[in-house]
Amino acid sequence: MADVAIPRAKPQMSEDSAWIQLKHNRNWLGFWFMVPAMAFLIFFLAYPLGLGIWLSFTDTRIGRVGHFVATENYEWLWDDSIFWLSVFNTLLYTFVASALKFAIGLYLALLLNENMPFKAMLRAMVLIPFIVPTVLSALAFWWIFDSQFSIISWSLKHLGLINQNINFLGDTTWARICVIFANIWRGVPFVAITLLAGLQTVSPSLYEAATLDGATRWQNFRYITYPLLTPIIAVVMTFSVLFTFTDFQLIWAMTRGGPVNATHLMATLSYQRAIIAGQLGEGAAISSAMIPFLLAAIMISWFGLQRRKWQQGESND
């Protein structure tokens, strides 16, 4: 941000007087222009964020004001195997889904970047899973993964690969695979289309030059595409990891955390404890426990970005 601001500031100081004339009340004007946005963000984002952390130190329940209980909620969670299971599930879900989303998304972006008929239409179609509300497509998956009438089981049976229906959402391993699959299905278009936008900024002449020098397709990708894409990859993956980690609706629509808590994520567990069971304090403790993980994810990608910028500056000379 800082390097954008400096060149902008120059003409305005040197050239005209109208800007300087208004400078004395710029802060005042700026304040009033910020009021609506700030009001929303302070009352409904910053305040609840702080309140959530406070609630996690109280024994508040729905309809009852809580008292400060220090770290009792956290101590309770520390010994709660379901909580640790949900942490494990969340990490598994995030790692597997994000890695596969990245791999498939990058692959799809590379494919879509090729020249072919109906390119525009294909790109538009690819993005549809991202447009449709997650819950509604999750319901479609629920039906596709139905224990009795699953079209997948039917197809596999008719191909002679299995003898009886797969209990997709009733078996712990299968349920995990299914929700991860649905998450990947939903996230790939986003990754692919944003990476495609990045790919289009890479000049084709680089590939031509490299090919003339005898580079293989893999070398083209490894030494041209990948280094030029890293900044956008870092941003896309940060978002992808954040949204996967805090996912709620997909799980809620497909399994509600079952079978035997095998797909409970921290978000779904906190909803169950806080809203359904009414233990607001305990639920708040679970969702506050997500904050360190989120901070770590943001930090990693932030410092990753900084490093890339520096690397790029050096190699662009």
Partner: protein, 308 residues
């Protein structure tokens, strides 16, 4: 090989590295034979696209299948139906609150989006052009707000909503959704406002226009494409939002489509699939239609917010 030299002289394509490098008509594809292209490009692409679109085909097919065909997969082929029925849609429209839910979703989405865009236009303009003291810091904080997920806010927000007496009212959603939308659209609009030349504003200032007039008469009209992108993207996010709607609304008739379908349609009925899928389809169609008209804007909204 003959077109290699012409390509390297094509300065425009080389220089415009930042804009989508125009159709490099053939590019280097002549280096690949047709069979190889089929295996490495068309086949994997076809598989991925089929997987991405299959759930929608299945949703649509299920919603028009008669009940007996839904569950009897041996007598009828499950992949097609020759006797489509609109029974499920009829049930949806006339025997449930579905029109109510659709209206609620639309109402909440439009109100929250308009509010957010209004606040974001002002905020983005102030950050980019008024450049008040600390504008960069505020810009950074707004970006951080974008990274705060709803799943860690819904519990405290539920208590806030309850305290303000907004529980079970659409107003609860209209006021909380902007926390998701404002950070996103402010960043998107900041990018657009930066591309509008300073000189235009300077001329207006010299002619005696106030800041408000400049914003309304110069900046906003020039940023219309950005506003459309922000608007439809925010609208989509609102429509998609689930956890706030699930937590803050209680009475059946107040719910939004995603929440209502999950909660109200999922009964033990073995024949529920038809109407469930019809509901899911009807809830997705408005967005898909909107998307079909504004594909470019969607993509620029998605990539615009990421690029910054």
């Amino acid at each position: 090989m003959t077109d290699l030299p012409t390509r390297s002289i094509d300065l425009k394509a080389v220089l415009s590295a930042s804009s989508p490098t125009a159709d490099h008509s053939e590019g280097m594809s002549y280096l690949q034979s047709v069979p190889r292209r089929i295996v490495t490009l068309y086949l994997p692409l076809a598989i991925i696209v089929v997987i991405l679109l299959f759930p929608f085909y299945w949703m649509a097919l299920t919603s028009v299948k008669p009940d007996e065909q839904l569950l009897d997969m041996e007598t009828y082929s499950p992949f097609w139906t020759w006797s489509p029925t609109f029974k499920h849609f009829h049930k949806l429209l006339f025997e449930s609150y579905y029109p109510h839910w659709l209206w609620n979703t639309m109402y909440v989405a439009v109100c929250a989006t308009v509010l957010s865009i209004f606040a974001s236009v002002l905020a983005a303009y102030a950050i980019v052009r008024l450049r008040y003291k600390g504008a960069n810091l505020v810009g950074g904080l707004i970006f951080l707000a974008y990274l705060v997920p709803p799943s860690i806010l819904f519990i405290p927000l539920a208590t806030v909503v309850y305290q303000y007496g907004l529980f079970d009212s659409p107003l609860a959603l209209i006021l909380t959704y902007p926390t998701i939308l404002i950070p996103f659209s402010t960043w998107l609009l900041m990018g657009y406002f930066k591309t509008i030349p300073f000189e235009l504003e300077e001329c207006a200032l010299i002619d005696g226009a106030s800041r408000w007039q400049i914003l309304i008469k110069i900046v906003v009209p020039l940023a219309i494409p950005g506003l459309i992108s922000a608007f439809i993207f925010c609208f989509t996010l609102c429509w998609n939002e689930f956890i706030y709607a699930l937590t803050f609304l209680q009475s059946t008739s107040n719910k939004t489509v995603p929440v209502a379908i999950v909660n109200e349609f999922v009964d033990g009925d073995i024949y529920r699939w038809g109407s469930l899928m019809a509901g899911a389809l009807a809830g997705s169609l408005p967005l898909v239609i909107l998307y079909a008209f504004f594909v470019e804007h969607y993509v620029s909204a998605m990539t615009g917010a990421v690029k910054e």
